[in-house]
Symmetry: C2
Subunit: 483 residues, 2 copies
């Protein structure tokens, strides 16, 4: 099949049976078996470990050869000294894809280890197998029932992530899921000896299940192929890339991690720009930009209405909006008047930003939602940023139930956004207590369920909005017919 | 007494009796009475509210005149229309300081409201009273048993905060307390009609209980006085200032909030630089820099040892250290060899950053602490940044107890730091679950109790370190004798 053909890679993501060879006998973070069980994998799942009879209710086999049925996909957790034997066993078994969680290959900088990586790759190719890794977490594809870590959402979604780091992939998926992201194809490909960024980009570009593409990339092996793939992907969907190794220190770390050559950031940036993708500097920004691309796409303009409690918070929110290059126009006089009708000691605090203490009073949720409705309805506002923080101090009888308030508010914000036709952006600052965390998680989850983008600071929101608006304007340019 | 005399202001912070006039009958966030009770205030506390007989176990008086004993300090929560009467009542009662939580004065932009503010200030002066505010939260001084919000630490400490915003003061105190900050004098002074930044700076500069000064400032009334006060304070102690209104949007918000004129950021910056203070752009940076000044003062140099689990996390940590302008030298070969002895598939991952999975194994805490000890002992390392994240997924039987692990690790990190003589900096990324939050809070609290600086990202840590090192080098310059 030709380079970049969708079908050439599609079977990777849809194995009918999986064997975890060297399966961990303990459950939790390190258990591929438990992770896949939690996804409700519909095919056959075979733990292989000569030291166990059973893992989490599944019969465990002493070797891959002992597995009774066909095996499409092998996850290797075996020690390095067993990998060559495993490739032979897999070949005999007719395995199509082998994922090496096993590490200790070229990334160590050791020549013998690099030679071993080259040898198993060559042999796997001879035997008709594709290789994922080594030194990586492999696949998290909820739709197919695959996962690389327990406790990730089993519900499929439309975000693809291509990552050279398993730890970063895990953090992206966990932190993103709290903010409503759900995933189509997540690939942690580590050293990328075979399957890697360019081929994967071409695949997710065509994948109908994917609408936003996130990447964590440390190094590129074939610049020309990458450029073609990135162009194709970025023409089809928003592509946001976190480049590991953007400094000299990071470049050295990249070399120890995946054995990649980080290359010049200038060249990488030029490629990203030419392709129409977005590059970010850190994990939080990657998630923020994906949230913006997922929930705010089509945003009409830069004009923010800012609503929240606390004069100082309002000042700092305004500074972030201003520093990011967004706008915060004064609300029209009729809008201000509507707000003054029920805002205590309103003064100029209803001009924009709207600094209001109505949320603290009786019926606080209703008054705050009324405030946001009025601001969202103003004709010179493209979106509302609502900033808040949840729960401080212990919950006690007679005090408001923060979790219930957060749930109600988040749900109604979604309704308000649909009613007014304006995006409402929820900023919930990081909490400082366990009950605040509980309320914050409920707020984020329910807001996202209602279609809202959420962030942990106004700065994060503003920067993500600026990146999205920039991306949109470049795309609109691209569609303007040539004169 | 002359300008800037310590005694001229000291009595403000040590009232023998407090009356809360217009005291809220409900407890929790809005209750000054409960806040002060929680601090263990040793003097007499009098709630005043004609609609209540008792508030939280204290007899409530219908008016200030009905209070039986002397009253040094009045907190006004009365509606605007009662403030002039209250000033008269307070004068008759011999009150020394009156704090107006009451808002609706000059900050509204209304001329009559501004005239009222001027009138009550003039009358208070005639009657021998100092005024805090209006439009502010007033004092949180644990040593004296004063507080403006429930659930702040009752234990006194050495951090002073001077803030024009009560909401920002609350956020600073709550978020900082989680990271081990404790407070000497916190003043939320709002519109600053009488007591404000310059006089307060002169006071905390001399205050023996204060070792680090944080400020949230929106506007300055007397530039020359401010410059003198800032010079005096910054010569004595680290002074870190968050300036609200650093953009045009923020400036407009400042005007609505405290009625201040934000002024030119360039002029403000020049003043900060000349005085030898530090300016930051956002609340998190203010807290980060105070944490650095409190726990890392005397840091010997820029050379970081980076330790943590996850190759991708290590790469991004290295990028942040590099981008901030810090150094990350390769560890000496004997140090690397010591690490290789027990690090699986070590390769070059022990060079620095040290990317190790030992924390995941059995006895994970011990192996991680051994790793950090070895890195901290390397002669070319000035400090260690240990990055981690706590608790993902539900806790279950058979899984490690994250909270207990966090407690043990944090405690031992403090011991390690003392043993090696090197600062160990704890970076705990924001958690994504309620049990992760619990473990994170324990980690932060216990690490701080052992003298460790903690941050929520390597970026935050690196930027705070750079600001601290810059401040230290400028101070050392100042002490070099002229040639």
């Amino acid at each position: 099949m030709p380079e970049g053909s969708f079908d050439a890679l599609d079977y990777l993501f849809h194995p009918r049976s999986v064997a975890v060879v060297g399966a961990s006998t303990s459950l939790g973070p390190g258990s591929f078996v438990e992770a896949i069980q939690q996804m409700g994998f519909k095919g056959d799942l075979y733990p292989v470990n000569p030291k166990a009879q059973e893992i989490n209710g599944l019969k465990c086999y002493p070797s891959l050869g002992d597995v009774p049925g066909d095996v499409d996909y092998v996850i290797s957790s075996v020690p390095l000294r067993f990998v060559e034997q495993l490739v032979e066993d897999a070949g005999r078994k007719g395995v199509k894809v082998i994922h090496f969680f096993t590490a200790g290959f070229s990334e160590t900088g050791d020549e013998d280890a690099a030679a071993l990586e080259a040898r198993i790759l060559a042999r796997a190719k001879e035997l008709g197998m594709r290789v994922i890794g080594p030194n990586c977490m492999g696949l998290y594809v909820p739709e197919s029932g695959l996962s690389f870590m327990p406790f990730l959402p089993a519900e499929p979604g439309d975000i693809a992530l291509l990552s050279q780091s398993g730890a970063n992939a895990g953090e992206f998926c966990r932190s993103g899921s709290v903010r409503g992201l759900r995933y189509s194809k997540v690939v942690s490909y580590g050293n990328g000896s075979d399957v890697r960024e360019s081929e994967l980009l071409e695949y997710v570009a065509e994948d109908p299940a994917t609408s936003v593409i996130a990447c964590y990339i440390e190094g590129i092996r074939d610049g020309a192929h990458f450029m073609r793939a990135l162009r194709k992907a970025a023409a089809a969907k928003p592509v946001i890339i976190l480049k590991g190794g953007r400094t000299e220190a990071g470049t050295r770390a990249v070399n120890s991690h995946t054995g990649s050559l980080a290359g010049s950031l200038q060249i990488f940036d030029a490629a990203v720009r030419q392709a129409g993708a977005i590059r970010v500097d850190r994990m939080e920004e990657l998630i923020d930009s994906v949230v913006a691309a997922r929930f705010l796409r089509g945003l009409r303009g830069p004009r923010a209405g800012i609503v929240g409690g606390g004069g100082g918070h309002s000042v700092l929110a305004s500074d972030e909006v201003g520093a990011a290059g967004l706008q915060m126009p004064a609300l029209p006089e009729p809008t201000q008047q509507q707000l003054r009708d029920f805002t205590p000691a309103a003064g100029t605090s209803v001009r924009n930003p709207v600094d209001t203490s109505v949320g603290m009073g009786p019926d606080g949720n209703k008054a705050m939602l009324d405030t946001i409705r009025i601001v969202a309805s103003a004709p010179n506002i493209d979106y509302v940023i609502y900033h808040t923080t949840w729960g401080w101090g212990p919950m006690r009888p007679g005090m408001p139930d923060f979790v219930a308030m957060a749930r109600e508010q988040a749900t109604k914000l979604g309704e308000l956004s649909r009613e007014t036709g304006k995006p409402i952006i929820g900023v919930a600052r990081h909490p400082t207590s366990a009950n605040g965390m509980e309320a914050t998680l409920v707020f984020l989850e329910d807001a996202a369920a209602g279609g809202l983008a959420t962030f942990s600071s106004v700065q994060s929101a503003a920067l993500a909005i600026v990146r999205l608006l920039g991306w949109q304007s470049r795309r609109e340019d691209a569609f303007v017919p040539a004169k």
